[in-house]
Symmetry: C2
Subunit: 629 residues, 2 copies
Amino acid sequence: MKLRNRVEPTPSDIDIAQAADLRPISLIAEDLGLQETEFDAHGRYKAKIHLSVAERLKSQPGGHYVVVGGITPTPLGEGKSTTTVGLCQALGAYMNKPVLTVIRQPSQGPTFGIKGGAAGGGYSQVVPMEELNLHLTGDIHAVTASNNLLAAAIDARMFHEASQSDAALLKRLCPVDKDGQRTVAPVQQRRLDRLGISTPLDDLSPEDLKRFVRLDMDPDNITWRRVMDVNDRFLRGIVTGAAPTERGMKRDTAFDITVASEVMAVLALASSLGDLRERLGRMAVATSRSGDLVTADDLGVGGALTVLMKDALQPTLMQTLEHTPVLVHAGPFANIAHGNSSIIADQIGLKLVGPEGFVITEAGFGSDIGLEKFMNIKCRTSGLKPSCAVIVATVRALKMHGGGPAVVAGQALAPAYKGEDLELLRKGTCNLAKHVQNTCKFGVPVVVAINAFASDTDAELELVAQAAKEAGALQGVVCRHHAQGGEGAVQLAEAVQQACQSHSDFRFLYPLDLPLKEKIETIAREIYGASGIELQPRAEAQLEAFTRLGFGNLPICMAKTQYSFSADPAAKGAPSGFTLPIRDAQLSAGAGFVYPLVGEMMMMPGLPTRPCFYDIDVDTETGKVIGLS
Amino acid sequence: MKLRNRVEPTPSDIDIAQAADLRPISLIAEDLGLQETEFDAHGRYKAKIHLSVAERLKSQPGGHYVVVGGITPTPLGEGKSTTTVGLCQALGAYMNKPVLTVIRQPSQGPTFGIKGGAAGGGYSQVVPMEELNLHLTGDIHAVTASNNLLAAAIDARMFHEASQSDAALLKRLCPVDKDGQRTVAPVQQRRLDRLGISTPLDDLSPEDLKRFVRLDMDPDNITWRRVMDVNDRFLRGIVTGAAPTERGMKRDTAFDITVASEVMAVLALASSLGDLRERLGRMAVATSRSGDLVTADDLGVGGALTVLMKDALQPTLMQTLEHTPVLVHAGPFANIAHGNSSIIADQIGLKLVGPEGFVITEAGFGSDIGLEKFMNIKCRTSGLKPSCAVIVATVRALKMHGGGPAVVAGQALAPAYKGEDLELLRKGTCNLAKHVQNTCKFGVPVVVAINAFASDTDAELELVAQAAKEAGALQGVVCRHHAQGGEGAVQLAEAVQQACQSHSDFRFLYPLDLPLKEKIETIAREIYGASGIELQPRAEAQLEAFTRLGFGNLPICMAKTQYSFSADPAAKGAPSGFTLPIRDAQLSAGAGFVYPLVGEMMMMPGLPTRPCFYDIDVDTETGKVIGLS
């Protein structure tokens, strides 16, 4: 349905969203060809999609697969979600193409902190925006619950091992049942198999008994941290076990924001319930004193984590303001995690739209962040090949890259951003060019979407379109979907449609059998423009350890600032010749990647002096949410 | 619908639950007289009830209001939820009475820890039991999220106040808008009104500016703690702010389990969305250096907390195995909180069943715990009057009170509990008698439900029934709903029906205008059998402070072990003449009670060496949950 009753100037996001004429989600599902048994409504405007639909449609050819990335953003964001939504509204409501948007679930931390929500904006939004930005169908809460159950299991196990003999541990871990038999849970059998122990438990040698019942985790090598979906900076560093009941077993650790949890990455990368179970079970949480990895299954908790996550594995169906369907699924941040929505949602979406249709999926931040990980991690894991990539650019951000003053959230924009300045803009196009060139390296046709603001002049917009083509994009298209909804993105949609018909030769940036260090170097040189990397000793040691433990073949998920191609957020434009510092590296054995930390990365945001929440309330008469942005 | 195909011996809870023939929740809602716009399905077997139904039915007379309490339990539990459910199945499926069960949402902590779930058991269960025991419709997650947003706001505010001048704080808290006006959010206006400040902000005296912009919270007097719905003992005592970015602002604090959060108590005691907003806003989180209470609204976050909680304010509709309706709503633990499901669910339920119907609501643990708080806090807040109380007793627990060996979860029962022992049992009936007498003090007719186990003999059951009557109960009724479903509780249902017709003269145990200390003493003497209380200095000082601050009129919510009438869990039977130690007292200004801590109360459970989660997994072929109990 095309938008009716558009108003100028554009009202606030929440006013537009609350005034929208929504279609019952059961009808959205029906439009998509879902059968009644293939989805569960969660209220009137959300539904969970059953994974059985993928099985039913397995022989159906899939649609065009379009990924939306961006240039290096300002802290205000360049409207990437808005463009993703506007493009879909254009394809669906104006060009009558089967189309499905796939986006990440927003974290509640930023919603109440500085940034506000992530439902798109203006007349290109996913609705109801309050539900998208808040609990939705509880998937992020499920990630928090399972991450933290695993964390509790680690400390509790260390506590119990510290006070019990091997025999006492066996007695409790595998109690004798009514018939005098030792009970061995299936998850314990997994551990016995992994240890190569087949002797009856009561006949174990003292060494094997110890190997089985003691995980012997090294308190200084616990890599698993607790998480919370709140911007709580005082949890960045904590000491646990400080109560007398824990008998002095204090430990330095931290909370990360939930979207940084490996459980979130696993949710986004799992291809089935069975795959979810295996990935969760093999997540490594610690190293034992003898150097072995300790996994969730070693702790006996892989099954319970799967139980906590099984409903979250179903994507949530919503709609845009113009009634095109949206799947919301998983929400890893792109700077500290892999920054892409789920494989399952994309897979189901491609089947549902069919060969003439389009799945538009968003990758967080720039081509150096979410898009690189989309190609090298997500597509490698799923086997899906993108038909086309869209890079979203704004005049504002390019002026910043050309040397414009700093753009700071919550502060007024400098005059340079309010009037025409072709020189500043021209200088800044180097950033766009690098993102386009990066994307071309994956062999995928590129379209640049120029998200126009009211203050942009025609000459400025034309300059950006020209720069896009010069850099290798098929087209640079001005779009005005924020003010106009899908109608403002029809030209973009046409360009995307053409790009999907053009030649594509998708390839990865690196082969998996390259050593870990060389894979990191490849990303740094090819995508960031670095001259090389500098592995700090801790990172070097970690990469060696992962290789020794058999994880050398994993892809790389860089944790790097989104505000620059380099590790320095202040280095705008397209810096080159710098050395990229790698401070540390972590293993995500369940998600299936190695995770280098570039410089100091903040895993838990904080709240400003006046957080967004000051404006948020409920109208207690109508029940409507006020002040969410 | 009466149960078909019952099997003997009784299969496991999850096997019964998964074999059940469930009715679509929309039909359960229809049976209850709910209109299509008055509920939102959440999947096939759960629905959220809109509060508008209370408005529509406001002139409808309510039904009989029955509360189910218990005797002092063993750690295995005495089947109180099971009895609540069985009683409803009998009333609904066998006696064709309009009936509605109201229970609390189980905490996930114990589900994965030691205790297992809380959906009832055997052929008296709420289904789907997996959904009840896990995320359900996300209400507990919403409590966690809002509790912890408030916690983050506290530490962040202290951090920002520490580094900024009064003028800088004003500049950020009330920024100047485009028209040069200072923005004052409605929640900030609340604070200005409370402080009696009406001067324009830029003309404030330095003193008033400081009073407005600085909450000046005393780090040693922050009472708000973070929460998590996981049994994580290593969070019982933590140090926050240990990362360098927090500039040395370390603080000793702790996590409680979510069900101990004041937000949970507020959810259970709120009567409307407006009431929820006010209660959340006035929750006190700290004392300032000058001795003022600092509230959630002072931090600007009361509205955001309400937004996070507004969907949780809607009770969740489910069903029993015999298709009678169930409302699940709120879940405060009874020992460390007030232990009752929500007022809203009971109110809606009474209207829905109508004057001939029954609402059966459960109060946690014994008459000294959930039932006392049901009467003195919940009914006082709601204005509802109970028609009858049911006290659930078991032969097993009474034998323990008679001096039987300790009953320990996860260990085999001693022989005393497996064969007839009338002497032990007779001695233990003192515990039942005290619970019956306690309940009678509220002027409410009492029925004792004797939850029979296969090993109980007729003589034992008869002895308990006799003891019940001698103590003042109208009847002592043997019931077998675990093995037989509603059919096994028909006699109990008949007794409850009769009790509801008999004379009731509901009264509170204490008037609100009694001093706080005397209210505590009254509960200790009248309900616990203590000879008096011993206020430790910290408790004494707190009670004085609360009285001075204007909270002397609040009711009392004791935090006391559920395993004894006294503060000593080992003191079984009906101890008397002891002095009750009051270690500390807290204020729940939003929930509306003062909260004395009797002895050492554990606010965060731990995990045993072999937690329940070892047995829990998903069958990845069928998607079914395995091993939940």
